[in-house]
Every structure is written in C-alpha cells, then in structure tokens.
C-alpha cells in the first residue's frame, strides 16, 4: 500500500506529509492518473460507437482530485460519489474491466449491468456508489461515517474511520447537502465533503449558480466544520493539504470540507456542445495539467528541484502498459455477457423476497456479483 511508504518521513523532512513519499508511490500516482485519462479516452470512443448508453460523464482533467484524496485514507474507509465516478472507482482499486463492462451493460460489470456509468459500486473496495441525483450522496456520506463511528464507539468493533463524500460545485446548491453538513457537525461525524469545484454545474458557471462563490469554504465554516481550499491540479499539494485534514477528522471524529479547485476538460456529459465556454478557456486550464505536471516533476533532475525518478523511456513504457490494460478492459467488455432477462431482471430487488410482493410474479436471487 502507498500508505505504508507515506508514513515514513525522509531524513531531510521539511514537515510536509509528501516529504515521506517514496518514488514508487509517486510513480504509482502518476500511473493511476494516467490510467483514468486513458480509460476516459476509450470510454468516449466507445460511447461514440454507441457501445455505451445513457448519461456518461467524463473525468478527464480532474484526476489529481480523486487520486490525491483517495490515497490519503485507508482502503477500508468508506467512499461515496456523484455520477462522474469512473475516475474515483479506478483510483479506489476497481478493475478497469469491471468498470468498462458496467458501462457496456454486461453481467461482468461492477453492478451486473444494472447501474451503468453513473452508478459504480465496489464493495471489496468500500465504494458505496456513484449516485445520479445531484446531492443525494451527501446524506449517505454522513450515514456511512455515522455507522463507522457507531461501530467503533457503540459496538466496540473496528477502528476510527473517516468517510469521503465527493460532490460537484453544483451540488452545494442542494438542500440535502446543507442538511448533511448540519448533521455531520451536530453529531460529530467523521465525513469529509470534497467539493470537486470544476467551475460549472452543467452549463451554468459557478458565479451564476451559487452565491458567494469565491468563498465556498464559508459554507462549511458556517456549520462549524474545518474547511480548506486546495488546488486540485497539483497532486502532491492535494496530498499535503488533504492528508492532514483526513488524519485530523479521523482522529477527532469530526467532519471536514474541501473546496477542491479543478476543471473538466470535456463536456458535462457526452451530449454537451459546450456553448457556454471557449476553447481558449479550456486550453488555458490544460496548461496546468496534473498528469503532465507530475510526470515532469518525476523526470526533472534533483538539482533542478525535481525528483529524478522517471526517465522518458519509463514514462513511455508506463503509458503503453496502461494503454494495453485499457484496451484489454474494452475487449473484456466487448466480449462480456448480456445479462439474462430471466435471471437478472427480477433479481436484486429484495434481499429477502417473499411471495406476493408484485403482481408480476416472484422476485428471485440472480447471479452473484462478480466483485464479491
């Protein structure tokens, strides 16, 4: 685990959490971010070929947000997401095959083809779903953290945990979010609300959709929640600022709030003509690209302040390895099994189906989920 290497500080420590990060860890983060980028590129292709249906939201540009924050917590800390969820699912450890197969609507998908792009669930990785209703996941995040605290405090089992709940800047306008913040602070629940602030709620720029948009952290602060702003393009900085917050929220069993500033490169969803922003604007943000920035940092000589732990060839090899993995995921999804109507349409509706629940007939148990 990256956590192990992160906890040992190097001798020339300047007091930043990232000082202790090993070269391996940083290379792994680069790998994870590139995996997401590549995965999304292939997702768009598959969507354009009509292999993927429904609403599909691409994560490209925001990779440092998911990878930096998820790597600041433990593997068994609960995570819950909005619908722009492929990146987090991969960062959390979901196999690209399961993620792609889900979008293809195949039985081998993480939800057996019953959820699609917006609903990535991965129980072994403590991922409690992508959620399609804007803001709906925010009370759920409080509940996951509440339960984790209850398990530790009332049941006397387990350990202190912290839950991560991701949302977009558009979701801060939802009532559910404000109720969740109030509950989290009132009940002292260890959940961190991570606002992936990409500046747009669909086509509505942030200054047109939320009041006091330059001071989002005041939303968290007004509920007595420790709230910080982070530049979501520099993954090392994300880690340096987020890791201490996560540790503190875990330790004190308190909520947190992060305005994580980022940008999405692609349209809101696959059907967005993007009339509300200019190509220049997008290009300006792309100059900050988190993947390019980390790769260059790892390739730059130590004398120039870099890490000097990745050669051009290494980076090239890494990218082609990733391309191969994603190609394999697409191939896997292509070859996947269409869910059998007899086995899957009426299964997973009830854990304990009994007769007469529906005039259409009896509910059944379907195939076991491939992730379990």
């Amino acid at each position: 685990m990256t956590q192990a290497s992160a906890s040992t500080k190097s001798p020339q420590s300047t007091g930043k959490p990232s000082d202790g990060l090993s070269d391996d860890t940083l290379r792994k983060w680069l790998y994870d971010m590139q995996l997401i980028r590549e995965f999304e590129t292939r997702t768009m292709q598959a969507y354009q070929q009509a292999k993927i249906g429904g609403f599909c939201h691409i994560y490209s540009g925001q990779e440092a947000c998911a990878v930096g924050t998820i790597n600041s917590v433990n593997q068994d800390d609960p995570v819950v997401l909005a619908y722009r969820d492929h990146g987090h699912a991969l960062a959390r450890g979901m196999h690209p095959r399961a993620c792609m197969a889900e979008m293809y609507g195949k039985l081998e998908g993480c939800a057996k083809g019953k959820g699609g792009s917006m609903h990535m669930f991965d129980k072994p990785n403590w991922l409690f779903g992508g959620h399609g209703i804007v803001g709906a996941q925010t009370p759920l995040g409080a509940g996951l953290a509440f339960a984790a605290r209850y398990e530790w405090e009332v049941l006397g089992k387990g350990k202190k945990k912290v839950a991560l709940c991701y949302l977009g800047d558009g979701a801060i306008d939802q009532g559910a979010f404000h109720e969740a913040l109030n509950l989290a602070s009132l009940f002292s629940i260890p959940v961190i609300y991570i606002i992936e602030n990409n500046g747009y709620s669909m086509g509505t720029a942030i200054h047109r959709h939320t009041a006091n948009h330059e001071n989002l952290i005041s939303r968290g602060q007004s509920y007595g929640i420790k709230s910080i702003e982070i530049d979501g393009f520099d993954i090392v900085d994300v880690y340096d600022q987020f890791k201490p917050l996560a540790d503190e929220c875990r330790d004190l069993q308190r909520p947190g709030f992060v305005d994580l500033k980022t940008y999405r490169y692609m349209g809101h969803s696959m059907s967005d003509p993007q009339k509300y922003r200019t190509k220049d604007e997008v290009d300006t943000w792309k100059e900050k690209d988190s993947i390019a920035a980390l790769a260059s940092r790892l390739m730059t000589a130590k004398s120039d302040g870099g890490r000097e732990c990745l050669s051009e060839d290494d980076w090239k090899a890494m990218r082609s390895e990733i391309a191969e993995i994603v190609r394999d995921a697409v191939q896997f999804a292509e070859n996947g099994t269409d869910p059998d109507v007899g086995a899957e349409l009426y299964s997973d509706v009830y854990i304990h189906p009994v007769p007469n629940l529906s005039p259409m007939g009896d509910y059944i148990h379907g195939d076991k989920n491939p992730l379990l």
């Binding site: 998908g109 083809g113 709906a136 509940g143 049941l155 387990g158 109720e179 304990h352 629940l357 005039p359």
Partner: protein, 362 residues
C-alpha cells in the same frame, strides 16, 4: 470487511446474503402465534415501543432516530423511556431535516447498521422523497446486489383529526407503487408489535405505517415474543355473503360496519391485510371464491391506489368468481378538509362501508 452480526432470536434461522455483513435472521413463521385474547392490555404506542426495545436489547446495531424521539420522549410518546434505557448514542434526536436524517440512516444501513427512522408523520416524508424512494429501495438493484438497505421508516399515516390537507396523508397509495420496499400497516396493538418486530429483522427497507388515531387503542398483547409474517392477512370475521378487505385504521371501521350488517342478516368475511407489499392475494381470492363479492376499504385516494391494484389483481385472478362488480371505499378525491363534518365525510367510515356492502350485495 468487518462483519456486524447480532444474536439470532430464538427459533429464527440465519440467512446469508453477500450484501449484508453478518446475514439476517428469519423468524420461525410456522410456529403458531400466541393467543390474541388475554388481559395484558396495552396501548398501540406501547406495543410499538416494546417491539423496538426488545429488538434493541438483542441487537446493538439497531438505533432509533427522529424528531423528538429522545429527550421529549417522543412527539406521540411512542419512544417514552427509551432514552433512559438505551442512551443518547442509540436514541437520537434529529433536527427537522427529514431528507438529511433519512438519507443519513440509509447510508448507515448500507454500512451494516439497522436504523429505525421515525417520521413524526408520514406527511413529512415527502421532503425526504429522494432518500426514501430513490435510494433505499433501489440500492440493492443499482449496485448489482452489493449493498443492501435494512432499514425501517415508521410514523403516523392518515388523518390525525382536523389536521387538514398537508398533515393528513395516507402515503400507501403513492409508495406502494415502488418496487424494492415492503409496507406494513397494522390496525391494532397485537399486530403492531408483531409486525414491527418482523420489520426490524427484515433485511429490506420497510415502510411501517401507524396512525395517530390508533396510538391510544388498547388490546391484549402477549408477554411472550412473537413475530407476524409479512404477506399473511388475518381473517378478522367470517361470513359468506361478502368479502371486505382493508388495512390499517379502517379495518376497525369495517369491523363496526360488519356488526350492523350482521344485524341486517348480511355476514361478511373481513380480511385485515396487515401488509400491502407483500399483499396476501391468496387470502383475498380464497374468500371471493366463497362470497363472490368484494368491498375494498382504502383510506387513500382512489386514482391509481391500492384498492385499484387489488381490483386489478382480482380481475386477473378471480374474474369468474365475481357475482357483482367490486366496490371500493376510498377517501374522497379531494385534499383533506379541516372542518369536522367535512373531514368525517371525506374519510372511509362505518356508514360508507355499510352502504358499499349493501350496494355490492343488492
């Protein structure tokens, strides 16, 4: 993953399901229920409290959350004394944030706890509609069987008494439409206890519909532990002339109407459905085969409601057995009025049920 298990109630069997850490217990429903007659008379609200307290004593994962449930001892005194016994970590006063605390409890249920969420009234559940309709009943399906949602939502359903239109909702007409949830609606203290205990053990989301107007009703509730199965109607009264079916509070009105009808020489089968999802259509069809007539008493609105569903299923399953068109008694198809006279005309009542049976048997 940590498995959160609880002791299995005596006689129950433990079932495994990948979505539920620690599995779930199913009571032995073959065991005959204890007698309904006796002199241990308690109120409906006490029956509810006993059900929750018994399950909370056995299973530490169970907690109660809602407005005024703890320090105020319950807005309707259902949870009276529970804070003293179980403490503030398990009997939790929530702010007036139905969407927030319902959603939070759903998250806790996914994680493996067993929340009981009290809505002061089901009329207030609409601000939590997304959580209770879009999340709880769909989580298992959407996650392809990975995360379940073992939760009970409970509270007052139906007219409380001149509370007018915003506070008098019968939500069964709306909520029964949603697959993935179960709905129980007891009409008396004995059933309230046995059904609520089953609801708490049930691994799926259960909507438990009580009635402010019945909380003070008294009846014998046996000392011994019992669980009432979902999907098994109770034959309250037997007769060969007409079948009356109902659920929740109007069962009591129907029983009253039956007395008067008997005086007129009309004997009815009265079925208390006890749960709407599942709905014991087997019992309904069996009774129709005997009486060939049916009156359905449903305290929610008629359009696309539970009574309409019952009639659809009857036409599918027992059309040839009917000697007369089914008759339904619903609330009037208007918002709930305030004035006493208007409200009582609006609700199903013994007079309207009496008339409906007369019409059906004419």
């Amino acid at each position: 993953m940590t498995t959160l298990t609880a002791p299995t109630p005596p006689g129950a069997t433990r079932h495994d399901h990948p979505a539920l850490p620690g599995g779930y217990a199913v009571p032995d429903f073959d065991k005959p229920l204890p007698p309904r007659e006796g002199d241990r008379e308690i109120q409906y609200r006490e029956a509810l409290r006993e059900a929750m307290s018994e399950e909370m004593r056995r299973d530490e994962r169970v907690f109660l959350i809602g407005e005024e449930v703890a320090e105020y001892n319950g807005a309707y005194k259902v949870s009276q004394g529970m804070l003293d016994e179980f403490g503030a970590k398990r009997i939790i006063d929530s702010p007036i944030s139905e969407n927030g605390f319902a959603g939070m409890s759903i998250g806790a249920a996914m994680y493996g706890l067993r929340p009981i969420v009290e809505f002061m009234s089901w009329s207030f559940s609409f601000v939590a509609a997304d959580a209770i309709l879009n999340n709880a009943p769909k989580m298992l399906y959407m996650s392809g069987g990975q995360w379940g949602c073992p939760i009970v939502f409970r509270g007052n359903d139906g007219a409380g008494g001149q509370l007018a239109s915003t506070h008098s909702w019968c939500v069964e007409g709306l909520y029964a439409n949603v697959p993935g949830l179960k709905i129980a609606i007891p009409s008396n203290p004995y059933d309230a206890k046995g059904l609520l205990k089953t609801a708490i053990l049930d691994p799926d989301p259960v909507f438990f519909l009580e009635s402010e107007r019945m909380l003070g009703d008294k009846a014998h509730v046996p000392e011994e532990e019992y669980y009432i199965p979902f999907g098994k109607a109770r034959l309250v009264r037997e007769g060969g002339d007409c079948t009356i079916i109902s659920w929740g509070r109007p069962v009591n009105f129907a029983a009253e109407a039956c007395e008067r009808l008997a005086a007129d020489g009309i004997e009815c089968d009265l079925l208390d459905m006890r749960t709407i999802r599942p709905l014991d259509m087997d019992a309904v069809v069996e009774s129709i085969k005997k009486t060939n007539r049916i009156v359905i008493v449903d305290q929610s609105w008629p359009f696309g409601g539970v009574a309409s569903e019952v009639i659809s299923q009857i036409t599918e399953q027992a059309f040839d057995w009917l000697d007369a068109p089914p008759v339904r008694v619903n609330t009037a198809d208007v918002p709930t009025p305030y004035a006493k006279g208007l409200e009582s005309a609006y609700l199903p009542n013994p007079d309207r049920i009496y008339d409906a049976v007369k019409q059906c048997t004419a």
